[in-house]
């Protein structure tokens, strides 16, 4: 087994634990490279089908390429797709900096979707190497009834035994690719030939390294026009992955505040 095999096997194990131990779960599909890898892993875990709904919490401000991708692969992969809208910007905490406030719409949309469907578990594609607060996450991460993350009181988690009993009204975030890196994602995407949105590939000297809302996500300078070139580029870079995501950088604690209230 090489490293990708090990990562794959561990993620499959986590998917199967989530499906066995929780009652009503959904996979959060942001249409990005990470959540596409997740869907692929779920199909491996369950022998070709995803046995729970796949939910896109839609801000309505995604790139057109992303919507195209969603329509095509929801059908091709036979997904039970749920598209849930987000409330208008006015409904969101005014004290947040502008881009973070915009991103927080997704958190509100998520809360509404949770209430609507009564999920006790949400599978999310965050990774430890993306960002410092995500590095502290558990694989099974309890959220309060309001979706809040209490980072000071996380339960212990060891030897692949996960805490799967959320208190009434709360839910669990399950993170099957928490231990993957950006480079792992691309290596795996290449090996398994998983489709991606073409925005990740360089055009006119620019490409998107991370995809979010069209108005608060910016491309990076890059000539990497194939996955191979992306991998070579990442192997050499020291620039963080989320550098093109405006809400992370407005204030020192902006992203942490987003996460504590339920952002992914």
């Amino acid at each position: 087994m090489d490293r990708l095999d090990e990562l794959e096997s561990e993620s499959i194990f986590i998917f199967r634990e989530a499906y066995a131990r929780l009652r009503n779960i959904a996979l959060l599909w942001s249409l990005g490279k990470d959540s596409n890898v997740m869907i692929w892993l779920a199909r491996k875990a369950f022998f070709g089908r995803v046995p729970f709904p796949v939910m896109h919490v839609d801000t309505g401000k995604k790139f057109p390429e992303m919507y195209k991708f969603r329509e095509r692969y929801a059908k091709e992969w036979q997904l039970r797709l749920l598209v849930e809208p987000c409330p208008p910007i006015e409904a969101v905490d005014r004290s947040l900096p502008p881009a973070a406030r915009s991103a927080a719409r997704k958190t509100e949309g998520l809360k509404l979707a949770l209430a609507k469907h009564g999920f006790d578990g949400l599978i999310a594609g965050i990774r430890r190497d993306e960002e410092a607060t995500r590095a502290k996450e558990r694989v099974f991460s309890p959220r309060g009834a309001e979706g809040a993350w209490d980072v000071n009181d996380q339960p212990p988690e060891f030897w692949n035994h996960f805490n799967a009993s959320p208190p009434r009204g709360a839910h669990l975030r399950v993170h099957p690719i928490l231990h993957w890196t950006e480079l792992d994602i691309w290596n795996y995407t290449r090996r398994e030939q998983i489709p991606i949105i073409p925005l990740y590939l360089g055009r006119d000297g620019k490409r998107y390294r991370s995809l979010g809302d069209a108005d608060i996500t910016f491309p990076i300078p890059s000539n990497a026009s194939s996955i191979d070139e992306i991998i070579r580029e990442l192997d050499a870079t020291k620039i963080p992955e989320r550098s093109g995501r405006a809400m992370d950088h407005e204030a020192e604690d902006a992203f942490e505040r987003l996460r504590a209230t339920g952002y992914l």
């Binding site: 499906y19 805490n163 009993s165």
Partner: protein, 693 residues
Amino acid sequence: MNVVLKEPQQAFSLANRMLIRIVIVGHVDHGKSTLIGRLLHETGSLPEGKLEALKAASERRGVGFEWAFLLDALQTERDQGITIDTSQIRFRTETHDFVLIDAPGHTEFLRNMITGAAQADAAILIVDAGEGVREQTRRHGYLLHLLGLRQVAVVINKMDRVDYDAGRYHSLRAEIQSYLEGVGLKPRAVIPISARHGDGIATHSDGAAWYDGPTVLAALDSFSPTPALRDLALRLPVQAVYKFDDRRIIAGRIESGRIAVGDDIVVMPSGKQARVNSIEAWPSGIETPGRQSAVAGQSVGITLDRELFVDRGNLISLESSPSATCRALRARIFWLHQAPLERGSRVLVRIGTGESNAVIRVIDCTVDPGQIAPLTSGVIAQNHVGEIEISLARPLAADPYAANPATGRVVLEYGGRTAGGGLVLAVDQSAEPLASLRREAFRSSVAPSALGGRQSFEELATRLATQASEQTAAERLQLLRREIVGRIVLTTSFGLEDQVITHLLWQHGIDVDLVTLDTGRLFEETYEVWVETERRYGIRVRALYPRRGDIEDLVVRDGINGFYGSQAARLACCQIRKVEPLERALADAQAWITGLRSEQSAHRRDMTLVSADPSRHLIKFNPLFDWQRTQVLEFVADHNVPVNSLHAKGFASIGCAPCTRAISPGEPERAGRWWWEEEGKKECGLHSQARSA
């Protein structure tokens, strides 16, 4: 226009570089996060702009730049200057990729330290040269061992603050080495460093020119990933059974060993057998034909050749090497919940994917691993360690940790939350595991001094002997129960003395496990008194049997009654039918009660009331040691104790049927045992000291 790559290409060598997970532990403020910051800087692994951003953040707060800010990225942590949760960050050397796991040093965050350390392949224990070995240094060192880590390096940090004093380094090194060796860890290196100044990290420090061991980076490069357990017996815990189509796929991850199509497997705890029909995978097709075999570490799905009821929590083994099924187990655990774990506490036990409600029956050997002074507490408080015996509401498949680390670990849930975990030392109702394996592996891996300075068995034996010499047999048994915290075993053959002790235990409600060795050659009358004893006292006597393979080999070699042929053959038979099962009976016992009396034979005359059995790590206790045969007979008559009906037919001491006969009046008591052999050699080995195991 979406992109699908048409041709899979050679994966970059990167994907096959060795990845090692390192946890950095130690007392608060001894410099863990600083060391990590330095490691990243020295290996050129910091993201662009990170150092500048952190320097700016430090200035805004009006504090000097701290490397620790790099990891302590959460707001609360920066304000308090401590690490709250475990955090992970990556870097590379020329040969390896590393994940560094920073674990908090504060006691109240021990659960996070454990979460971090449990994921690691190796550990660095950091000690402040000025402050020396502190509470969390010891606690973390102890827990590393309990978590199964064996690759450890120690760094003595802040050497600049002690002027790179070689004497200080050597005395600290001796102290930490001796502590770690006491808990079973042998550090690879003890490295003097100054994390703040980068001394001893990538290059040797000028200050510590007297040091000629490895740098931190060299020590890291010497570690290796935890190997998959491919060479152990197959253990496949069942996560679920899927029936998405006409296939019935049993899904799980192989924890150890390997499995192949055509293998004969057994599903524990039910013991049902089947053959592997296929190993399923997706995607599958002409280009990717179905797998024929799979190994430890792989998540698989298999189908069987027949319809068995298989469910989540079952454990699949090869028929030739099944796991044990246990209804009770003994484990050494750490406890993280605020409420102390007590005798009678109800917990949920998880082993593999199996789970069962359980009750704590016994707690002993409790330790606060942060302290040197012993604990005599009968509960396991938060962040303490101890040994427990648990009764399970339903049987679980498991192995002792020494036999299989993957299925020999137990996790305890309390009030819906993971609250503790540890290593399985022994399982009850086990099919196979060797007594010697269980006990030696664990008693020797944690020296008594590390168990809170428990007194030696010799000291305890001497004290008990003094106190018990003038007592009645009942008082002696009560004394023993008070003094021994762990399991006490009475081995009974339903002889007169054993029956007297059984009666006394029942009469005074003394908690002792009754075990008998059923050799397979006992008298019918012995089975009758066994049944009668269980009925009279409302108990179940646990029987241990010889190992099947050993018996089969013996009978092939010597014949069914080969023991008459020579004393060697007789002793071989005793060894297999009695002595070896006895070892299992006593595997985790702290004390062993027997019905021996010194009057019984010349050989037994030298035996004492209490003795330490150093090879078995227990107290041997003979409460009827000074009784006369007439006293025994009077007692059973007075109390209407059930006795073997053979006694009335002239049998005095009763063992196996082929090897016991009645004696004539006036003959020595044990004259009827192995009557064809010389007096003086008539022991089966149960009560002989200093055998080689």
